[in-house]
């Protein structure tokens, strides 16, 4: 059965106005990809910086897209994100699964992921957080509104979603 949180993120992504979705695989992201469906519009990309270029270019054609990834992928993405998406004022919705928070079992991943919110803030990239303190309906709304925020501000916007300790604990 699809996790209500994963389904909420997927519904929020479509409600955000995303026309194409690129993802970089992660065990936490997989239920969201399953819930998104539409393999004609949802496809894998090899690396996060590539996702910034491919999906980030869509607004140049009048379209809008979303990237689904996990937070340690921002290490790969930062140069592309800043020199392309941020510098050219291109709206993009990025939904990232948090690996650096409470409950994360993989000790070394904290070394990077713990600092992702501060790194993004330092770069001026707007971040909205989701965790167990709100339910699936709020997750869906925040993801959808983050897409609108990206278009309104002509910038990439990140949603950091902590699936751990929701029904995504097994992810």
């Amino acid at each position: 059965m699809t996790s209500p949180y994963a389904a909420a993120v997927a519904q929020g992504i479509w409600a955000s106005g995303a026309e194409l979705v690129g993802y970089v695989p992660s065990v936490g992201v997989a239920p969201v990809i399953t819930a998104l469906g539409r393999p004609d519009l949802v496809f894998p990309l090899s690396r996060e910086e590539e996702a910034m270029g491919v999906i980030g270019a869509l607004p140049l054609t009048g379209r809008f897209g979303a990237v689904v990834m996990q937070d340690n992928g921002f290490g790969n993405a930062l140069t592309a994100l800043t020199t392309f998406n941020v510098s050219y004022h291109l709206p993009l919705l990025i939904v990232a699964n948090i690996r650096g928070g409470l409950g994360e079992y993989n000790s070394m991943i904290h070394s990077f992921s713990q600092h992702v919110p501060a790194l993004l803030d330092r770069l001026g990239v707007r971040v909205f957080d989701l965790d167990r303190r709100s339910g699936p309906a709020d997750w869906e709304d925040v993801v959808a509104e983050a897409g609108a925020h990206a278009r309104m501000t002509f910038r990439p916007v990140v949603v950091l979603a902590q699936f751990w300790a929701t029904d995504g604990k097994t992810a």
């Binding site: 090899s46 270029g53 491919v54 140049l60 392309f84």
Partner: protein, 189 residues
């Protein structure tokens, strides 16, 4: 054939096509020949021209624009060779990547790339791109015209000599202006 000679041929063939061009000397030399609104100069995103062109090609699927042209260098493509695998997997119908291969990092002191030992055209072919070659202006003109024919990702491997054109000014435009100009040009097609 030097880079600027190859770019001269590409300028003649791309007046009505979107062109995504890699950073530094290649962008500068292209802008020095012709600074047109259909050019998207990537001022500092080394390795990203192929990815951005892939996104533009996906975004323009179903439009009347027949091809999206990426102009990339060998050093830059070696920095992000994933472009070849992703293009082969997604198969954007309109994508044409023109590789200007001088076997050196031409914007960073002419240090050698892997190109003397690794054939990027063969990598592209292995990933499923249709590959053509050129090493002089006449062949480039002819092969570029053939590569414009529709159907799947195309890769034009152009061997050039090292060396940057002299007296070419830096490209100091605001990237937001470059991007907006490109977007408006696309919207008007």
């Amino acid at each position: 054939m030097r880079r600027i000679d190859a770019l001269q041929v590409l300028v003649e063939g791309t007046a009505d096509l979107p062109v995504v061009v890699t950073c530094a000397a290649t962008s500068r030399e292209l802008a020095a020949i012709a600074d047109r609104p259909n050019h998207l100069y990537l001022l500092d995103s080394m390795g990203l021209a192929g990815s951005v062109a892939t996104g533009v090609a996906l975004g323009l699927a179903g439009s009347a624009i027949p091809r999206v042209v990426a102009i990339e260098g060998d050093g830059s493509l070696f920095m992000n060779p994933n472009v070849l695998a992703t293009g082969g997997y997604l198969r954007p119908d309109k994508l044409l990547l023109v590789l200007l291969d001088n076997a050196v990092y031409g914007s960073t002191g002419d240090l050698p790339t892997y190109s003397a030992r690794i054939d990027l055209g063969a990598l592209a072919a292995a990933a499923g791109w249709s590959v053509r070659q050129a090493a002089d202006p006449r062949t480039l003109r002819a092969e570029f015209a053939k590569a414009l024919e529709p159907g799947g990702p195309a890769f034009l491997h152009v061997r050039i000599e090292p060396g940057n054109a002299s007296g070419v000014p830096k490209l100091l435009e605001d990237p937001v202006v470059i991007g907006r100009r490109f977007r408006d040009w696309l919207a008007s097609r």
